[in-house]
């Protein structure tokens, strides 16, 4: 370190003291760091939907559009509910339930798919009956990132703003997650 550099740092220390560290900490609360500004390589995003997670906010669309990734919208009809209905109701009623659920799912997938495509994203859709928690965690392994609704699976309360199922999925994920 040359004389000028050490002189400057001595004078800086005497004039500023520890205030610069405080200023940096305060700015750090709302400015992105260099590392945070680098958009990670995300090529595929899993976006699970169900009867509880029926919409996506504009902020999520903005975030997803930053990645230029393929978004897979996946609607899962709860197999456990379907199985219970099969055991307790007649076949026609059960089929009616499944048909309505799938129709709702299709409409939801189409609506969100259109919205994302309008923002320039490539979208794939999928609908099936399955175990929401296990299937989402298993599918997530094939994606670079997951965007999960806090209401996924339902059951959020006044004291807990995130549903128990969404929380459990987050605990088991090994990829980055955006919770909305």
């Amino acid at each position: 370190m040359g004389y000028y550099s050490s002189l400057l740092q001595r004078k800086f220390k005497d004039v500023v003291g520890k205030r610069y560290e405080t200023v940096l900490r305060e700015y750090g609360e709302f400015l992105l760091t260099k590392e945070e500004m680098v958009v990670p390589e995300i090529e595929s995003v899993l976006l699970p939907l169900d009867a509880f997670a029926t919409g996506i906010p504009d902020e999520l669309v903005d975030v997803l559009s930053a990645y230029n990734a393929t978004v897979s919208l996946t609607y899962i009809v709860d197999a456990q509910v379907y199985s219970l209905l099969t055991k307790t109701l007649d076949r026609d009623t059960t089929e009616e339930f499944r048909r309505k659920k799938e129709e709702h799912g299709r409409q939801l997938l189409d609506a969100i798919s259109r919205r994302l495509e309008n923002s320039g994203m490539t979208v794939r859709t999928r609908l099936f009956i399955g175990q929401k928690g296990d299937d989402v965690v298993q599918m997530a392994e094939e994606y670079d990132m997951i965007a999960l609704s806090k209401r996924y699976g339902g059951g959020e309360t006044e004291t807990s703003s995130i549903s128990p199922l969404a929380l459990r999925i987050c605990q088991r994920l090994s990829i980055p997650a955006v919770i909305y």
Partner: protein, 440 residues
């Protein structure tokens, strides 16, 4: 010259060398020098109290309390984000807006705090634009020093001059405000000429910048909305009081007949009233705010006053003044000498100790010539001389120190070349305006 005077000169020079080198904290160097002259009886207790300019020390203290309380609200970060957003992604506009905001804020609040809080935002915006941050940083330094020159409270040399010469806030605005305004226009033009061509971003980069900046929520920077509002109100009130501090008695007398119409408020009193008001109204913990008062800076000033007081007591200043008077026949000549000497000496010594030494000299010249214009000459030289080198003013040290910590090196010589160019142009223009006001 007797032995005592020689000791006072040696202490003065040694202290100034220590201040320039800063291996020992400047406050400690000044206090140690003061201790020597007090210990040797060169400055006895009664004189010490005379030489300690409490007007300067209390004004600085009051403004430090106001600024540090306001800082807790996130006011400066709010201003920084709003400024960045206002430029809508144009590098030139960012440069110009940050220069103007820095100049205006520096004119009314502490330069060090201003640049300390604006520089990280400037670096952030420059990194988003992928542009060389050096033009933005040097422009901020120059704007801070020029803006600070405009008012009584803008720069420590002005505070010291006003306190010692009894000059009012409005006199500073009338005499130095126009100079600062003209110099700012010149500086903007100069920065554009020097760096305008290099400040280009592609439409895509501009879009990313606008998107990122729009994503910043200036309201998120406000940590305490109630304190934010109170801070803005108190700062505006204090600035208003500064404008009327010389006529406060006449104004109050119209509503409160018992108030003496001849009463005035010293700038230091205004600052302390503002400090009391913001502490009382904000309910911020006073011990936390008092902790943030820059006591080393206040002791630095105190020490300097005593060391310079030793030169006064031993007649050294009077001898220099006599020499000056015998070689300078008119106020105009004295203006030229003081302005240029103060400007170039500030670039070497740091403008605060330089001003402390020059003030008693001008006082001593008052017997033979009109020194009123000389105060403006000193202020002009000392404040704008701060642009001359990397260590000439505190704002320079803060910005360049931050830059170095962030890996942006601006060499002493590189800064000197640009700083001297700005110094010569702005001081020449300022001196020209003063010349027209007082000599022609």
């Amino acid at each position: 010259m007797n032995g005592v005077a020689l000791i006072a000169i040696v202490v003065f020079l040694l202290t100034y060398i220590l201040i320039i080198d800063e291996r020992i904290h400047r406050a400690v160097a000044a206090m140690a020098g003061a201790a020597v002259v007090v210990f040797l009886g060169i400055v006895p207790w009664d004189s010490l109290l005379e030489h300690l300019d409490l007007g300067t020390i209390f004004l600085l203290m009051g403004m430090m309390i106001i600024v540090n309380t306001a800082r807790n609200s996130g006011l400066f970060e709010y201003i920084a984000i709003r400024t960045a957003k206002f430029a809508k992604g144009s590098p030139i506009l960012i440069l110009v807006f940050f220069m103007l905001v820095t100049a205006v804020v520096s004119a009314f609040l502490d330069n060090v705090t201003t640049v300390l809080l604006l520089t990280p935002m400037l670096l952030y915006v420059a990194s988003l634009m992928k542009l060389n941050p050096i033009p933005f940083l040097v422009a901020e330094i120059f704007a801070s020093n020029i803006g600070g020159a405009a008012t009584l409270i803008g720069d420590p040399p002005n505070i010291m001059i006003a306190s010692s010469a009894g000059l009012s806030f409005n006199e500073f605005i009338l005499n130095l405000g126009p100079i600062a305004a003209v110099d700012m226009v010149i500086l903007v033009g100069l920065m554009y000429l020097l760096y305008g061509r290099t400040m280009k971003v592609t439409p895509e980069e501009r879009q990313v910048l606008v998107k990122t900046l729009n994503g910043l929520d200036e309201r998120a920077a406000i940590r305490d909305m109630a304190l934010f509002r109170k801070s803005v109100i108190v700062i505006l009130f204090v600035v208003f009081l500064f404008f009327i501090h010389d006529d406060i008695g006449a104004i109050l007398h119209t509503v409160l007949p018992f108030v003496d119409p001849a009463m005035t408020l010293e700038p230091a009193e205004v600052a302390l009233i503002g400090a009391a008001l913001i502490l009382f109204w904000s309910r911020e913990a006073p011990e936390m705010i008092f902790e943030k008062v820059e006591w080393p800076a206040l002791f630095f000033f105190g020490g300097l006053f005593v060391i310079v007081g030793a030169l006064v007591e031993t007649g050294v200043i009077a001898e220099i003044a006599t020499f000056m008077i015998s070689n300078v026949s008119t106020t105009g000549e004295a203006m030229i000498i003081i302005t240029w000497f103060a400007a170039f000496a500030s670039a070497i010594v740091d403008n605060i100790p330089l001003t402390a030494a020059m003030i008693p000299l001008i006082h001593d010249m008052s017997g033979t010539m009109d020194v009123y214009p000389l105060w403006w000459a000193l202020s002009l030289g000392a404040c704008l001389g701060g642009n001359g080198s990397a260590i000439a003013a505190s704002a320079n040290v803060v910005v360049l120190g931050i830059a170095e910590r962030e890996g942006i090196a601006i060499s002493f010589i590189d800064f000197l070349k640009l700083g001297m160019l700005v110094l010569v142009i702005t001081v020449a223009v300022g001196l020209g305006i003063l010349w027209m006001m007082y000599v022609v």
